[in-house]
Each structure stands twice: as C-alpha cells, then as structure tokens.
C-alpha cells in the first residue's frame, strides 16, 4: 500500500466534465503518458549520437530526417497528451492498475520458458505438457478441460509443423531416437 500522502483522493463524485468526457479509463493514464514522454525525450537526446548527418546530401534524404521527424512528433504529441490529461494526480486506482500491469510478467515468463524449452525438448512434447500445466495454473481442474488442452496442443503441432511445414527446429532430444523415428520426429513434430 503506498503512503497516504501520495494518494490524493477526490471527494465523492467530484469528477470534472473533462474526466467524464475522457475516452477510456482514467486509471493508469498518467503514468503511461509520463513514461512515453520521458522515453521520447531520451530518444531525442540520443538523436545526434545515433544518427548521421551526411554531407552533400539533400535535407529530405538525410539519414537523420525521419528519426528526427518521428521523435519530435512523439515528444510534441506525447507532451500535449500529458498536458491535456484531465487528471494529473496519482489516485488509488492507479496503483491497482500498475499491479495489473506488473502481474502480466508472469504470462511473459510462461511464454519465454516455452520458447526456451521447444528447441531443447521438442515442439510436440513441450506443447503437450505446457498446455495442461498452464490450464492447471489458471484453475481448471476438470479432466475434460485438461484433455482438451492436450489435444489442442497436438492439433497445433500437427497443423503447423507436419501439414503447413512451418520452420520450427526439431528438439535436441530427438537425436536420441532410433534411426527412422528420429528423422520422422525432426520433420513432423
């Protein structure tokens, strides 16, 4: 819980007309606008260092031209967006929102672990195990749901790897399979 002095609550239903007319929720908008502007300003500070000004080249053909246009646009419009935000104080709802943003990291980690494991163990076995574990994590306990997730995993692998021939490398563990089975697994699963 953040310190009390940091939370400035509006009394009752005293939301202004600007707040009522604002498109989308107000929670979290301020931090997003600040981070966006700061990032744009940081990029602007690097403009001279990260792009080149080439001699004997027209202004519009300079390598620096488009990065400059885009970053100045980001600073200008991002700044105006921040300035025009109807509420420029952090609220209790903002902290709740930041927590929601932070907790997505869990799903990112699930995704990245899956990405790391596929080339090691193999696409089919990892997907077959990953789906039911993820289902379990989300609170589905029925056998039917877990089996459906396993079948979904198998269907995805067969559709993309075996039928559509999408480029996903065979797992390192497939090397230990006997002769013909090895090449069959590498090609199809």
């Amino acid at each position: 819980m953040p310190p009390a002095f940091f939370c400035i609550q509006r009394p009752g239903n005293m939301s202004s007309l600007e707040e009522k007319r604002f498109k989308g929720p107000l929670r979290g908008q301020l931090l997003f606008a600040i981070v966006f502007l700061v990032a744009a300003l940081l990029l602007l500070s690097q403009l001279g260092d990260q792009t080149k000004w080439v001699k004997r080249t027209k202004f519009f053909a300079q390598p620096r031209f488009w990065p400059a246009v885009s970053i100045i646009g980001m600073v200008l419009f991002g700044g105006l967006h921040l300035w025009k935000l109807p509420r420029r104080k952090f609220d209790r709802a903002d902290f709740v929102e930041w927590r929601v943003w932070l907790f997505t990291i869990e799903w990112v980690l699930w995704f990245l672990i899956y990405v790391i494991l596929v080339p090691i163990i193999g696409y089919l076995p990892v997907t077959m195990v990953f789906m039911p574990i993820l289902m379990w994590r989300m609170g589905y306990r029925s056998k039917k749901m877990l089996w459906i997730s396993v079948f979904f995993g198998v269907a995805v692998v067969i559709l993309f790897k075996a039928l559509l021939d999408v480029k996903i490398p065979g797992g390192a563990t497939y090397e230990y399979l006997p002769g013909a089975l090895r090449s069959f697994f590498i090609l199809n699963f």
Binding site: G28, Q46, K52, V54, F60, A61, V108, F111, L112, F130
Partner: protein, 539 residues
C-alpha cells in the same frame, strides 16, 4: 471477358480452393469467438503463408478478413458482445431483437446484409477495375507519398478524443521503422551498437506482440464470462426476403462501405457511422433504431462487409495499406517479391481480378456455411476466455519463432505484448503504431525519390492528383481543427451551464470587463466620454 477467364484460371487449383474453404470457415469461427479477432488470426498465420504461393497465402488471409465479420455478428446478436470490433454497431439493433425472441430473424438478416455488402463491393470493384488501372499509373512518388500521409492523418484523426496519443503512437511507429541500417547511405540509426538491432525491428514481430500476445495476456489475466444462449427459432431464409424490402438502405450502406474502404485510414467504423446515420434519418420509424430496427441492422452489417474488398484497392493499386489487416497482408506481397502498386494493375490485372473473384466465391461459401451450420457454430461462443488466452499464447509462438527461429524475436514480441496489453487496458488504439511503421517506410522512400526532381516546394504539388491529395490533407486538417474547436466550445458551455446563479453573475462581469477592454469597448468608452472627458484618461 478474357480477363475474367484468365483470373478463373489462376483460381482453378485445388490448393487455392482449399485455402478459400479454410479461410472462409476459419474466418467465421474466429469472428464468432469473442476475444479472437481477425488481427490475431492473421498475425499468427502470416509466417505460415510465406511458404505458400502468393495467391494461396493471400486467399487464406483475405478469407479470414472477409468472413470474420459474418461470424462476429453471431455473439453481437446473441449475447450482446461483438465478436470483432467492427460488429459493435450490430449489438445496437441485433441484441434487442434477440431479447424480443427474434434471434433467428436477426441472424438471418445480418447474414443477408453482410452477403449483400460483400457481393456489392466486389461487383463494384470488378466494374471499376479498368478505370482504376487507368488512374493508378498517374500516381508517381509524390502522389504515393501524399496518399500515405493522408492515410496516416486519417487514421490519427479517426480516433476522436484520442487524436494526440494516436498521433504520438503513429510517430512511434515511424520511429520503429527507422531503426537499423539506413538503406541508401548505409548508416546505422538507433542501433546502440547492438547486432540484433542492426537488421531493424521486424514488422511481424511487432504485430504479433501488439495484437496476438497482448490479447493472450489480456484474456489470461481476465475472468471467464458466463454466457447464456437463447434457442433459435424460425427459418434462416427470412432475412433475404426482408433485405429485399429495404433496397435503398442496403444500396446506400454498400456504397458508403465501398467509398470509405477505398480511402486509406478510414475503414469500417466511418462507413458504419455514415450508413447508420443515413438509415436513421431517412427511416419512417427512426425511433426504432437502437431498439431492434431491421434497417439499423442492415445498415451496420452491409457497410462493414463492403469494406474488405474496397480496402484492397489502395493496397493493390498504390501499395498503401489503409488499416492494420491490409498492412499485414502487404508483408505477404513483399516476401514473394510481388510489389503492389501501379505496375501490378498494369501488368498483372488478372491477379487482381482473381483476388476479387476469390472474395466473391468466399462470400457465397460463407453464406451457405452459415445458413446450415449456425446451430452448431454458436457453441464456440461458450469457449472460456482464459482457455482461449492459453491457445493464443501457444499459437503466437508459431508466428514469432517460425520467422527466424530467434529467441530475441520472441523477447521483443513479448515486450510489445506487454506494451499492447497496457494500451488495451487504457483503451488506447495500437493500430496507429502498425500503420506508422508501414506507411513511414513508404513515405521515406517516396519522399526521397519525389524530392529528387523538385526545385521549389510548389513543384511537389503541381500535378493534378498531387494537388487533389494535398487539398484533401489540408481539408481533413481544417475539418479536424474545427471539430476540436467545437468540442472545446461545447465543453466550455457545458461547464458554464452547470454553474449556479452567483458564479454566473461573476462570469458575466468578467466577460463584460473583457469586452470593454477590447478595441470595441475602447470606442464605446470614448463615445461616452466625449461630452465629459476625464483629464486623466490615457489615449
């Protein structure tokens, strides 16, 4: 006639027909599941289509694009949740019909209206194709640059109430496109000496992050929604008969769809808005709109389904995508070295007509499929949201990893996934980023080429089409600023009206003071003081 025959020849292959079937049925299914839009599906399937023939790959994607809106109307009508974003207007009149016990009538009307919209636009465009083929070569570098700029401005302006952040995000998209090695002078731009950045930021990685992964995260952190479906009663063909009774609404809505679809950056929402407003204003029963009006449903569904075919016009004729889905399709062209633009219309007209014919066949397939399979299809609405999230997560992996088998790509996509998730939570549109990336690249190349032959700034717009485009840009900006000014005035008036008498009195006094201090006020004072001037009055 020869043209159509050679186009049919392109399509008469078993893999193209299979792609049509898969695209149409898959698109309907994807549209019918709330939470999975065509953008997610196209993003995931994009790398898989790279290994196919251009016509096969494009048919699958076009199938999903064209048929998802049919499917999207099912949950919009039955459970008041639009299956795809463009079906939001369908809920206005579709769901009240369901609550009245007329779900089947609403569905059949939506299918018939969608079918009419789809067929109407394809026929319009096949008829217009020869004219377009004549106009397209008149677009040089300058015109394409101006058209891309117009598209970008329209996309930004279309997000009413969020224009500033939409503009900032479009600029962010342009910036992302500039990262990496500059193609002419070979100088590094914003690579921070990192090898993985020197190749630039891949559009497909960004698309998959912003649309697919972010949607997966969004669904995974949410709750499963409980839905209750009503039983369908009545015939599915009554909608066709009802549609015939409203030819004017259907025709005008289809025309709006075609016109708005052709303008890059405008798309379904504006077409729907215009058609719905027209239908309401010209209706004998305008009070029914929003309470289950059949005309409202026809206007909404006809106009949105007329857009996909029309949206292919700027993409094929100029190489300028008008929205996120066509921007994704552009990458399929690039991968196969088919460069969309005026040359495509001149040299490969049969390819263009083949795509339109594919859309025509697709609409028939989808209608037949829906008329007979709706009862089974509505069950997909019940798929739990978080299960869908897990499915999208696994499918996104195929999309990102199959590109280059790179872990870094997956990491970048995951970062964009979080970014897209935050944007979704804040109801900020992600589309300007994608269009900024695609149109930014086009604008950079075309401006460089266009400026090479320009001496004075006026030379840039001295050709008729360039001048028209320039005037359109100026016009759009003027209309936008007038609208902003109007909104500002309305807000001020609304604020004043909520004040009570004592503050109003103070406001009157302050306005009076302002007026008197201005030039006119000075003159009035002078006139009043003429007969007894004060010795201390300054002039």
């Amino acid at each position: 006639m020869d043209l159509i025959l050679s186009s049919i020849d392109i399509l008469a292959r078993w893999d193209v027909l299979l792609a049509l079937l898969a695209g149409s049925v898959g698109g309907v299914l994807i549209g019918a599941i709330p939470g999975v839009g065509p953008a997610v599906a196209i993003a995931i399937l994009l790398p898989a289509t790279f290994s196919m023939d251009p016509i096969v790959g494009l048919t699958v994607l076009l199938g999903i694009y064209g048929s998802s809106m049919y499917g999207g109307s099912i949950p919009a009508i039955l459970i008041n949740t639009p299956g795809t974003a463009v079906n939001a207007l369908t809920t206005y009149d579709g769901y009240p019909m369901t609550t009245r016990g007329e779900a089947r009538r609403a569905l059949s009307l939506a299918y018939s209206a969608s079918f009419f919209g789809g067929i109407f636009s394809v026929i319009c465009l096949i008829l217009f194709a020869p004219i377009l083929a004549k106009i397209a070569p008149m677009f040089g570098s300058r015109e394409i640059f101006l058209a891309a700029l117009l598209g970008l401005i329209l996309v930004v302006v279309a997000h009413r109430g969020q224009t500033l952040i939409a503009a900032a995000l479009a600029c962010f998209g342009i910036f992302l496109n500039t990262v990496g090695l500059e193609p002419v002078k070979y100088s590094k731009r914003f690579t921070f000496d990192q090898s993985w950045l020197s190749g630039g930021v891949n559009l497909i990685v960004v698309v998959l992050g912003l649309f697919a992964l972010s949607q997966a995260f969004y669904l995974l952190q949410g709750e499963d929604e409980k839905t209750r479906l009503t039983k369908l009663r009545g015939g599915m063909f009554q909608g066709l008969r009802e549609l015939i009774r409203h030819p004017r609404v259907a025709g005008v809505s289809g025309t709006f769809g075609v016109l708005m679809g052709m303008i890059p950056g405008v798309g379904e929402f504006t077409a729907q808005f215009l058609s719905y407003t027209y239908a309401q204003k010209s209706s004998k029963r305008p009070q029914d709109f929003g309470h289950g009006s059949s005309e409202g449903l026809i206007a909404a569904e006809t106009s949105n389904n007329a857009v996909p075919a029309a949206a292919m016009v700027p993409l094929l004729a100029l190489g300028i995508p008008g929205e996120a889905l066509t921007a994704m399709m552009l990458s399929v062209f690039y991968v196969h070295n088919v460069v969309p633009g005026p040359q495509l219309f001149q040299n490969d007209m049969d390819f263009v007509v083949a795509l339109y014919l594919a859309l025509l066949i697709l609409n028939v397939l989808v209608l037949v499929f829906l008329l007979f399979a709706t009862n089974q299809l509505i069950k997909v609405v019940n798929i739990p949201n978080r299960f869908l999230g897990a499915c999208i997560l696994v499918l996104s992996f195929v999309g990102v990893y199959s590109l280059r088998n790179s872990f870094t790509d997956c990491l970048i996509a995951a970062c964009f996934g979080i970014f897209g998730f935050v944007l979704k939570r804040l109801s900020i549109p992600a589309v300007p980023i994608i269009l900024g990336m695609v149109l930014g690249g086009i604008m950079e190349v075309k401006l460089r080429a266009g400026m090479a032959r320009v001496k004075t700034p006026f030379d840039f717009i001295d050709r008729p089409i360039a001048m028209i485009l320039f005037l359109m840009i100026v016009g759009v900006l003027i209309i936008h600023f007038l609208r902003v000014w109007q909104d500002h005035k309305e807000l001020k008036e609304a604020k004043w009206s909520t004040k009570h008498a004592s503050t109003n009195f103070g406001m009157h006094m302050s306005r009076r003071k302002d007026y008197l201090l201005r030039e006119r006020g000075r003159k009035v004072r002078e006139k009043h003081l003429k007969y007894n001037p004060r010795s201390t009055d300054k002039r």
